[in-house]
């Protein structure tokens, strides 16, 4: 076990804590001050962390971590292992048959080789999912970065920063489905947008592609998840030493040069963490794609859902394994861009 606890993980225990704390401190409502304090308080940690009082019994640390460890072991690690195992099992109309077969995988990729260079269903679906993913990622990144930049560099008082950040946070606390259906009266055939467009004479007939289309799916994703991009990027930005920007300015850099050569590189960890969140959400999603796509758009997550609705567990599991592999591939690629552990 301890060999996985890499000694290169930058020293003492709270180091493990710094990685996420950085990303989510503001999510907890603990604004920038938290990150500023974190650095100084870390120095006092090892002393406080000594467990023994002069008398009385303190439970050992492993015992305190046990309840959470058990939950993850039983309900996350074990189920994941089961997904992998079951993906190699056989099935019939009624039940899962525990005997090894590659059937679920061969069925999933059926015809993929023969149809080359054309794309088979599964590849088409993954291309669609990847396109959605890329579009949502690019849009949320631009919006998230701009919003964070405004909050971090142009809003001067801490109180105002917190108030504006909270303003962006509030919708996050309401149901995602509600936030999705709230687009229907706006984008529907007789919705506000179409009413306005037809009355203004911009279009003759109501636009059909506004709702239950790729457009509405991407719009809903951006609406729902830009928040996940804002928090980590904002968190990286507020830690940037303002003197660096002054220095760039004094050295004659233009605004864009400063942005590109100073701010963006220093925000990389935040950008990567935000990207991981957004990418994994979109890759595995089936609810947003279902509701906003009018159940007509195929995505990686929807394949699994369809299989499950038919109670075909092994093929669903095989698709889950493929989805997991695809997601991990993207995350690995993202973390190659920046070593998160090192940069935080």
């Amino acid at each position: 076990m301890s060999d996985i606890a890499r000694p290169t993980d930058a020293g003492h225990i709270p180091a493990a804590g710094h990685i996420p704390a950085a990303g989510l401190a503001s999510a907890a409502g603990a604004a920038p001050a938290a990150t500023a304090l974190a650095a100084t308080d870390a120095a006092t940690m090892p002393r406080a962390a000594r467990p023994r009082g002069r008398h009385g019994w303190a439970p050992p640390a492993w015992l305190q971590a046990m309840p959470m460890g058990l939950v993850f072991a039983l309900f996350f690690v074990l189920p994941l292992a089961l997904v992998v195992v079951v993906s190699f099992w056989d099935y019939n109309d009624y039940e899962i048959l525990p005997s090894f077969t590659l059937r679920s995988y061969t069925e999933t990729f059926e015809g993929c080789y023969d149809q080359l260079p054309g794309l088979c269903t599964i590849f088409k679906t993954y291309v669609t999912t990847a396109e959605l993913c890329f579009a949502v990622w690019a849009i949320t990144l631009v919006i998230g970065f701009t919003i964070s930049y405004f909050l971090a560099f142009h809003v001067r008082s801490l109180t105002m920063q917190i108030v504006l950040a909270l303003l962006c946070t509030i919708p996050f606390w309401t149901s995602n489905v509600i936030r999705m259906i709230s687009w229907i009266p706006l984008l529907g055939r007789n919705g506000l947008v179409n009413q306005a467009l037809t009355q203004a004479g911009v279009v003759d007939a109501p636009l059909e592609w506004l709702l239950y289309s790729r457009f509405s799916v991407i719009l809903a994703f951006v609406h729902l998840f830009t928040f996940f991009m804002v928090i980590p990027i904002f968190n990286s930005m507020v830690r940037i030493d303002k003197r660096l920007i002054e220095a760039a300015y004094d050295a004659g850099a233009t605004g864009w040069q400063t942005l590109w050569n100073v701010v963006v590189p220093l925000c990389k960890p935040g950008i990567v963490i935000g990207s991981i969140f957004v990418v994994t959400i979109v890759m595995g999603d089936f609810v947003t794609v279902g509701v906003m796509g009018g159940q007509q758009i195929a995505s990686a997550g929807k394949i699994i859902e369809t299989r499950l609705n038919a109670l075909q567990f092994p093929p669903a599991a095989a698709n889950a394994v493929i989805l997991l592999a695809a997601t991990l591939l993207i995350i690995t690629a993202l973390t190659k861009v920046v070593d998160i552990r090192k940069e935080l």
């Binding site: 804590g17 939950v71 993850f72 996350f76 189920p79 489905v177 920007i245 999603d285 859902e305 567990f313």
Partner: protein
């Protein structure tokens, strides 16, 4: 950064305002439409103003079980919140010291956040189906009246915990990174047992943040769909019910339902913020005594 408001400030400010409008606009629209008159439809114009759709919703309005789903979600949310707060606090305390497997636990928690929810949900469903199969194959006294182990407070609870606990743990890291350990040391020097120093020093100090954990736990559970989808068993939670309704209900009642669930979220946030404010005020009144009991 520099003196005076630049053009960039106004451009970015405008962008921010548009973003906020984008965030709130649609929600305001459905809020308004949920008060649509009895003859009104799913879109504007408003056909009078009434609470008609709320009363229909309250009566059940032909929607199966919406009230029951509401209470189920509430109960599950409260249990999830409680477990999340307790387990996260314990784990947060554990991470202030060294223990075997702490890196593993940390990475597993992160993995639980980023593995697509449907995969986790499927895994939990498979696990409980196998438990079912095992029990049914067992002796009569076990399998007699047994139907399934899948349920709200078994597999459902498990699925929600895999989602709320990582957030809880991360928030605890943030809390203890800011925590001044000297206070505890002072308590020990004054002869406090570990339990006393936790009960009278640490707990009062972290209590406002724990309310934050609770708030996170509850709202994550209250709105959760993807993980519940396969693992909840036969009794749907409110968000699942809501998702199903999007394809079948064609009246403003669904907006009324949306307004109601949003209202519950806001009430919960308000209670949590009020709690935090009260605790902070109490701490300030009592000065550095850190919440004497």
């Amino acid at each position: 950064m520099r003196d005076g408001r630049s053009l960039a400030f106004y451009l970015l400010g405008g962008f921010f305002a548009l973003y906020v409008l984008f965030l709130y606009g649609p929600m305001i629209v459905i809020f308004a439409l949920s008060f649509q008159g009895p003859q009104g439809g799913m879109t504007f114009p408003m056909n009078g103003v009434s609470a008609h759709w709320f009363s229909k919703l309250w009566e059940g309005g032909g929607i199966v079980d919406i009230g029951a789903a509401f209470w189920r979600s509430l109960e599950l949310g409260l249990v999830v919140t409680l477990v999340t707060v307790v387990f996260s606090t314990l784990a947060g305390l554990a991470y202030r010291r060294k223990f075997r497997g702490q890196a593993v636990l940390f990475y597993v928690a992160i993995a639980s956040l980023i593995v697509p929810s449907i995969v986790t949900s499927l895994g939990i469903a498979l696990l409980f189906r196998m438990i079912d199969a095992a029990i049914k194959a067992g002796p009569d006294w076990m399998s007699g009246t047994f139907t399934t182990a899948l349920g709200l407070f078994t597999s459902g609870l498990a699925a929600h915990l895999t989602w709320t606990l990582p957030f809880g743990l991360l928030i605890m890291f943030a809390i203890f990174n800011r925590f001044d350990g000297r206070l505890e040391e002072a308590a020990r020097d004054l002869g406090a047992t570990p339990w006393q120093s936790f009960r009278h020093v640490v707990l009062p100090l972290i209590l406002p943040a724990l309310i934050g954990v609770a708030l996170f736990g509850f709202t994550l559970s209250w709105d959760e769909i993807a993980r519940s989808s396969q693992a909840i068993g036969s009794d749907n939670t409110l968000p699942l019910q809501l998702q199903a309704l999007t394809t079948t209900v064609t009246t403003p009642m669904i907006y009324a339902l949306g307004t109601t669930t949003t209202g519950v979220s806001f009430v919960v946030i308000a209670i949590a913020l009020l709690g935090i404010a009260l605790l902070r005020a109490r701490q300030n009144r009592h000065g550095s005594d850190a919440g004497k009991a």
